[in-house]
Amino acid sequence: MEEQTLWTFDRFEPGQIFGTIDVMMDAKKRAGWVSIYGKADSDLLPRGMAVAAMMESYVRAIQPRPSGNVHASQVLNFSDFRPRWGTTLSTTVSCAAKEEKKGRFWVDFGILVSADASEVLSGTIRSIWAK
């Protein structure tokens, strides 16, 4: 099996697209959400579940990654489109910017989450990359 190269800071380039990851908002996800945050009576997807799916896509899209990366800040822009449980969220992950500052490796990842060809949310994950 081919060994994949670790994603280190020097490999990131602004404008890079890491791919689009699909995550199904199925009964297992719903049960997982309820086990943490309590009942989800509405058929509409909680905004936080879209954020959890965004994180899953971000983790899946950039592999293998070093241990110990830190999520420093987050920007979220929600549209007025609310997907329902049972739909599939598609998240495109990209590199928006990077900079080395005071010995820390800062990387901004752009994210765009959509469902049924409509935008659900966009934003930026700002991380301190471990290596």
Binding site: W33, P46, V51, M55, E56, G68, Q74, S79, D80
Partner: protein, 122 residues
């Protein structure tokens, strides 16, 4: 009329909850789950996923505004770590151009701070 505050919403974190959130978000970073690994980091112990606390805040926001929401912009900073086992509370108050929002520990440490704005009139 818009509420003056976003009512508090709390969550008791735990190793079990961190494990559940790891499965929900596919984020198995050992910083959140592995005591031995986390002990060797600057945090000294496992810390909760940042978005676990962020999603508590989003739940509090949804409770406050419900179906009236749309085109909201949320900018937050993870200002301090949440040690796994700590109880956290999310809330907010009206500010000039939106709502000042936060998540705090029981000790009063702000772990998330930020601003919620609406892109359309509610």
């Amino acid at each position: 009329m818009l509420p003056e505050k976003i009512s508090d919403l709390s969550l008791q974190t735990s190793h079990e909850l961190a494990t559940s959130y790891a499965a929900l978000s596919f984020d198995y970073n050992p910083l959140h789950l592995d005591e031995e690994f986390a002990a060797k980091t600057a945090f000294g112990a496992p810390i909760a996923h940042g978005t676990m606390a962020l999603n508590l805040l989003l739940q509090a926001i949804e409770n406050a505004f419900g179906s009236k929401m749309g085109h909201e912009n949320l900018e937050i900073r993870f200002s301090a770590p949440v040690k796994v086992g700590e109880r956290i509370t999310a809330g907010g108050v009206r500010a000039d151009d939106g709502y000042s929002v936060w998540v705090k520990t029981e000790a009063g440490v702000t772990v998330i701070s930020g601003l919620l704005r609406f892109g359309r009139q509610l």
